[in-house]
Amino acid sequence: MTQTLVSAASGALLATGEGGPGLHSVPATGVFDATWLVIALPLLGAAVLLLGGRRTNRFGHWLGTLLAVGSFFVGLALFSAMLDASDADRSVNQHLWDWVSVGSFQAEVGLHLDQLSMVFVLLITGVGSLIHIYSIGYMEHDENRRRFFAYLNLFLASMLLLVLANNYLLLYVGWEGVGLASYLLIGFWQHKPSAATAAKKAFLMNRVGDLGLAVAIFLMFTTFGTFSFDQVLSGNAQASGGTFTGIDLMLLLAACGKSAQFPLQAWLGDAMEGPTPVSALIHAATMVTAGVYLITRSAELFNASPDAQLVVTIVGAITVLFGAIVGCAKDDIKKALAASTMSQIGYMILAAGLGPIGYAFAIMHLVTHGFFKAGLFLGAGSVMHGMNDEVDMRRYGGLRKYMPITFVTFGLGYLAIIGFPLLSGYFSKDKIIEAAFAKGGTSGYVLGSVTLVAAGLTAYYMTRVMLMTFFGRERWKEAPVGAPADWHEPHPHESPKSMTLPMIVLAFGSVFAGGLFVLHDSFVNWLTPVTGFSEGDSPFSEYAVTGMAVAMVALGALVAYVQYARREVPAVAPQGSFITVAARKDLYQDAVNEGLVMRPGQYLTRMLVWLDLRGIDGFVGGLAAFIGGTSSRVRKVQTGFARSYALSMFGGTALVVAATLMARMA
């Protein structure tokens, strides 16, 4: 814990100390030789299920689940091997094959497994396996269940590639691979136009982020001549501060796209069109946290540019509040959770922007969030499962009686996320708030305050969700306004075991993970060799911060209680203040995107379509018409009168004679 390693050196150039904190790895041997299997197993599943077609319908879900679990066990084996290894040998590199090699541009397909990627491997395969199991029940009646599992497996493989790649180009493959899987899964119910649109939107906004990653790689290549981790992140990279800032901001852009951070946040809410297990796995626990991984992985680069780090924290701070505010106004349970996800990831990004003070806590919150948010989503899915896929919380109420397991697991997740003392969210979020203050200076105060306020807001909107869903009047018994004639009352019931089991496991994680991680600072110590660690310089004591945080949480929960437990929840959303209206409309994010990008783009496109027909083709057509017109006119000279022909000959002769004489004179 007290290892204080080289932190960001301010100034134009990063001093390169010998044996810095950078990334150094040893070739994979022994158990680590099997690293590739982690990716290969789910990839195999995806291939078999996609190519096998209908023949695999019968056992597809089992195969998919089996391979996911298998991958988890390989991960566990790797983890135990890593526990046995010394610090220096924990970072291993597995070369698979040469990929692209042109001139000095050398990219390999190779894996890099260290403490950081290990955390992710376990999270992804662990939560992933649970969600596979959950989906067996959840998707039971879907005719395309096989395809669903194929996509899930594809996602696992891509996400694992993302966190295991040993260079940025290969990371990019995983990066877009998860984007593809996300696209396929959001739009899984393709017959719904809204789902197809949401999928497209997600992919496009992610592509904007990908642009950043691509440019970052270009910059690395032109600056360092390489983009492999153990070169760029070796601690020996030198460049002007501006270059580092450029690379970092481009990486941040990528992170914003993938992790739904401001200003590329707009897709996440719509992504809830996907089946709920997808929301739990991809849009809560794993994929959306890839941005945090990217920044943490690139710690060496970010440490070299305090400017870029500041921007990262600002983006994080804005998103923390943005998500929290939007979350307060959503009546759709999944969208409320999605807004919460955005906000929570804002915490992580903010923490990652703090540098060595925050990296470890960003990852820690990421993991605990993975547990409780996945649990919450699965709970929400379970509720929907029992409520005829109703998502409007105003049509819930008093469900705790009907689905007790869901209620308990969801409740534990709820307590974890608001930071109820001693549950996992309490530990991880507090650390971030502390770290934000520990940044020092004005920015430290601002960031710390933001995180505190957001903690209160989190408590508010999560309490609201909890109360509207499980407590109060059973609003679902009344027909909604404007209900179709064949409306019938839902019959809420508890979900099957395959669904509740994962929820229970995740609830355990939500409760205990945080405590485990802070015990002996085990989590921070684990990560320190990769990310570095520094205490920072907090103006407040640890207890003071905790006290403030708990107070904010209590305040938020209380307000929500007053609003939603003491008062009747109207079945139709009231008008609300202008802030509520804005929050319901996601703070006008879509309107802004439309006005700034889509509309001008559409006008430009229409103009170009017009221009293409008139402009260039018009010029050529005009030229042809001109020649044709000339032809029609000139041919009239051929009058058909022999005498006029004779005249043209006579004139021609005069010209020819004159020209000959002129040539001599000239």
């Binding site: 001139g103 691979g177 497209k200 691509a214 290549f221 600056t223 020996n236």
Partner: protein, 542 residues
């Protein structure tokens, strides 16, 4: 086989002979004609593979060379030889042809569509024989264009190719095919004729330098490039620029480079899908290939002078093509504009004058061939089932024909250069290569990847997803023949995406040689990583 076996001549002759053979099949026997055509393309594929195997990547720049006097008076030799770039593109051609023949199996049997859009007399269908014979003729000419090391030979086949293409477009396409065919021919013919003037001028210049001996000029590419390198042939800058522009004009029309692109959308919209692929995947590649082989090597100084201009046009083309693709309402026209965007990438890669750019561009030619073929052919299957090219007529196809939709999506993802699929590698190389020479251009070009996602996904969304539209419900899924067409393309896209090394290994030496002819080296990294002995990276380079 002896060392002097004329591999390349045989490679060119087989499809020619095949064309004659197909034409000679008795009139009534359509099936026989098709089978013969398919067989010929398969034989050609086998030969192309043999040539590729014979080619050793680290040997001479040009291999399997042949050189016979053809027209002494013009200083013309039947000179063939392949470098890494040529051999890869020949292989592309040979691989795509059987696929195209199979994909076009029934295209020529359908009754002709009249100019007013009505279906013509079913009793008088068009000549299946002519269709396949012409396709084979095009293949032969494309192969010669890729294999020629004599500028005249190249020119002759570059131009002659227009004629069978013209008949293929004008004889077998949609309602506006005649307009499209004429436009195709005239644009390209104009380009070719301007090039002819430059070819003649180059010959005169070589004659002045006495490169052919006895006061004669020469068209021998190797001889001229050698003379350019040694200063033996010292063109005056104005003449060099003029000749460069003459060559470049023809290639820019063919490629097509913005703003000379307007013939392509019409051609690709009106032609049958197979022919559209033939145009965009092979015939147009001759243009970009020729930029790389002829413009740069023959006119190194002019190339350097004009590189910024060409790069600018190509960048405009990338964005312009992509934006226009977004705005289209016709599936095939949309795909045509995507090709314009992609050709922008290829050209930008060539004229960035970096090894990554040029190797990437070459790889791009191959990958674009496969990805566009896949996309266009599947789109063609879709269109022929519904009888409409209008995007708005589709919707919900995924529900009724999942396999078709799935292959369409994979092809689309390749078109948007999804990592893991082949086009990603080439596109990234092109972008890196461009960025390292022209930073701003590289960034602007990178915006192309966002727009690519936009047009592909919009197309997919509108045609494949959503509720099943009226008229779509009767659409059948892919049949076996169609699967056989698409499967190898998709397999290649996947394989080349994860393991492009074999292609790159073949291409790289030729690219390095080209760059040395232009006397350009890759920009060095500004701050290469200092290799500290104590922490030698173990996994860095293998």
């Amino acid at each position: 086989m002896s060392g002097n076996f004329p591999w390349l001549t045989v490679l060119a002759a087989v499809p020619f002979a095949g064309a004659l053979l197909v034409a000679a099949v008795p009139a009534g026997k359509r099936a026989l004609a098709k089978n013969v055509a398919l067989l010929v393309t398969l034989v050609e594929l086998a030969l192309a593979i043999a040539v590729t195997v014979k080619f050793s990547p680290n040997g001479d720049r040009f291999q399997l060379t042949e050189n016979h006097t053809w027209i002494k008076q013009f200083g013309v030799h039947w000179a063939l030889g392949v470098d890494g770039i040529g051999v890869v593109l020949i292989l592309l051609t040979a691989v795509l042809m059987p696929v195209l023949v199979l994909a076009s199996w029934n295209d020529a049997d359908a009754p002709q569509v009249r100019m007013d859009g009505t279906v013509g007399d079913t009793a008088a269908p068009r000549s299946t024989h002519a269709f396949f014979a012409l396709m084979l003729a095009v293949e032969a000419m494309v192969v010669v264009s890729f294999a020629a090391t004599d500028i005249f030979v190249f020119y002759v086949f570059f131009e002659a190719m227009l004629i069978p293409m013209y008949f293929l477009i004008g004889g077998f396409g949609g309602a506006q095919r005649s307009y499209a065919a004429v436009k195709f021919l005239l644009y390209n013919l104009l380009g070719g004729l301007v090039m002819l003037a430059a070819v003649v001028a180059l010959y005169v210049a070589t004659a002045d330098a006495d490169l052919g001996g006895a006061g004669q000029g020469t068209f021998d590419l190797m001889r001229i490039t050698q003379a350019v390198g040694t200063g033996e042939l010292n063109l005056n800058p104005t003449a060099e620029k003029a000749m460069f522009l003459g060559f470049m004009f023809a290639f820019a029309v063919k490629a097509p480079l913005w703003p000379f692109h307007t013939w392509l959308p019409d051609t690709m919209t009106e032609a049958t899908p197979g022919i559209a692929v033939l145009v965009t995947a092979m015939v147009d590649k001759v243009g970009t290939f020729a930029m790389l082989r002829y413009c740069l090597a023959l006119f190194p100084n002019a190339s350097k002078t004009f590189a910024p201009l060409v790069v600018t046009l190509a960048i405009i083309g990338i964005i312009y093509g992509a934006l226009l693709a977004v705005g289209q309402t016709d599936i095939k026209r949309l795909i045509a504009y995507t090709s314009i965007s992609h050709f922008g990438f290829i050209i930008v890669g060539i004229f960035a004058l970096t090894s990554q750019g040029q190797s990437g561009a070459t790889l791009y030619m191959v990958n674009h061939g496969f990805s566009t073929a896949a996309l266009l052919l599947v789109a063609g299957f879709l269109i022929s089932r519904r009888g409409s090219k209008t995007i708005a007529d589709f919707g919900g196809v995924q529900k009724v024909a999942p396999l078709l939709a799935g292959t369409f999506l994979v092809a689309g993802l390749a078109t948007l250069s999804l990592p893991g699929l082949a086009p990603f590698v080439s596109e990234f190389l092109v972008l890196v290569g461009t960025f390292s020479r022209y930073q701003a251009a590289g960034i602007v070009a990178t915006f192309g990847i966002i727009l690519a996602a936009l047009y592909v996904l919009v197309l997919y969304q509108r045609t494949m997803t959503g509720p099943v539209k009226a008229g779509v419900e009767k659409i059948r899924d892919l049949n076996v023949r169609e699967l056989v067409v698409v499967a190898p393309l998709i397999a290649l896209l996947l394989v080349l995406g994860v393991y492009p090394k074999p292609v790159l290994d073949v291409v790289n030496p030729a690219v390095d040689d080209t760059l040395s002819q232009v006397e350009k080296t890759d920009p060095a990294p500004s701050h290469p990583i200092e290799q500290v002995a104590a922490v030698t990276p173990l996994g860095g380079n293998k």
